[in-house]
């Protein structure tokens, strides 16, 4: 792989819609709210964008985005003319696929105690980070995220009987609150 770092005009970039043979379209979705929040974040912290440019591969006289498809929409929202990019040359389709997935993969998790104690000047809500508090999971207060930015996600758990009944019984009527409380304790 050979890489080039440079700013490219937005008009030269294309989202990954499956136009590269053998590479499926970008498997991510986002809402208008995601675009708006990211657009603001990019403006607020331009150094991070320079450090984490949009990752593209050449395709004809255009460039297809492997990493940063949402950022592309956010830049359009900001009416940016050109954006920081890394052009990766000579990648196999298999490597491209690994990069598409891994660039959005995420290992590790937030240490919520540290976040709430020492990083409290950050606007977490604007970044889509919710710091869970025990009282939020008591069941009395399930609306832990009023004004959620995007549509809900359904977690589907599949069990054979009799485990399905056991899990249902334990989760009770307020499945969400019980699950959240259990996970907060289960560290």
């Amino acid at each position: 792989m050979r890489i080039e770092s440079k700013r490219l005009p937005l008009s030269k970039l294309e989202q990954n819609t499956g136009q590269i043979e053998g590479l499926p379209a970008n498997p991510r979705t986002w809402t208008k709210g995601d675009i708006e929040r990211l657009a603001k974040s990019l403006k607020d912290t331009p150094e991070l964008f320079d450090a984490r440019p949009i990752l593209v591969v050449p395709q004809g006289d255009k460039f297809v985005i492997l990493g940063g498809n949402l950022r592309f929409d956010a830049c359009r929202h900001n009416k940016a003319k050109d954006v920081p990019c890394i052009i990766a040359h000579d990648l196999s389709v298999d490597k491209m696929a690994q990069i598409v997935l891994k660039d959005n993969g995420d290992f590790g998790s937030w240490n919520y105690a540290l976040l709430s104690e020492e990083w409290d000047d950050i606007d977490f809500k604007e970044l889509g980070i919710v710091i869970p508090k025990m009282e939020d999971f008591s069941g009395k207060n399930q609306e832990i995220n009023p004004g959620a930015f995007s549509e809900n996600i359904t977690l589907k758990l599949k069990y054979h009987e009799p485990m399905a009944s056991l899990v249902s019984l334990r989760l009770g009527e307020n499945k969400k609150a019980v699950l959240l409380a259990a996970l907060n304790y289960a560290d």
Binding site: G67, F107, F149, L155, L157
Partner: protein, 186 residues
């Protein structure tokens, strides 16, 4: 902003050694670290284009974004690490923003697309929660026959709650079903 290969002995994780900058607020399990190490070995190209973000501190460097990656590269035996060096005069508030934002993520996985088009890849090993994907996460044989005698329990979550739940479940067990059993003490 500079991109440079740095001797790994000169790099330190963010332990809170820079006055005013709290230590890295992320944690991970040994299992996750092993997966990241293997992932970097499989796709070293990604580590080259998404390297740790560091700032100079005395004669060395402190990792602002990519602390887990730094440990993974070190444990993989790297002698030098490609790093992005932030300008030395960046205000502390900006450093804090970078540390947090480099680990936050907008948007969500398209689970249908993952299941239908990306199923050849070991998604869980790539740090992708495979929770809503029965075809991919179903235990057992590879005869991709949908298992339809299982009972489905649905829990509706906001995206933020989902991320929290996904994070926690992933640390507990290889599949969400097992993780929930564990969490509920069954």
């Amino acid at each position: 902003m500079q991109i440079k290969k740095i001797n790994i002995a000169l790099i330190e994780p963010n332990n809170g050694q820079i006055p005013g900058l709290p230590k890295n607020p992320r944690s991970w399990s040994v299992k996750e670290m092993d997966k990241l190490k293997a992932s970097i070995q499989e796709t070293p190209e990604l580590a080259e284009v998404r390297p740790p973000i560091v700032i100079q501190n005395g004669t060395g460097f402190v990792v602002i974004g990519g602390n887990m990656r730094y440990f993974a590269l070190k444990e993989n035996g790297a002698a030098e690490v490609t790093c992005i060096i932030l300008p030395a005069d960046l205000p502390l508030s900006r450093l804090k923003e970078i540390a947090i934002k480099d680990n936050s993520q907008f948007g969500a996985w398209d689970y249908d697309a993952l299941a239908n088009e990306w199923g050849d890849y070991p998604l869980a090993d790539y740090g992708i929660p495979v929770y809503d994907m029965p075809e991919v996460s179903a235990p057992g044989d590879g005869n991709a026959k949908p298992v339809d005698d299982r009972v489905v329990i649905e829990i509706e979550l906001t995206p933020d709650e989902f991320h929290f739940v996904a994070d926690k479940l992933r640390q507990l067990a290889p599949t969400p079903e097992e993780a929930v059993i564990k969490a509920l003490g069954l």
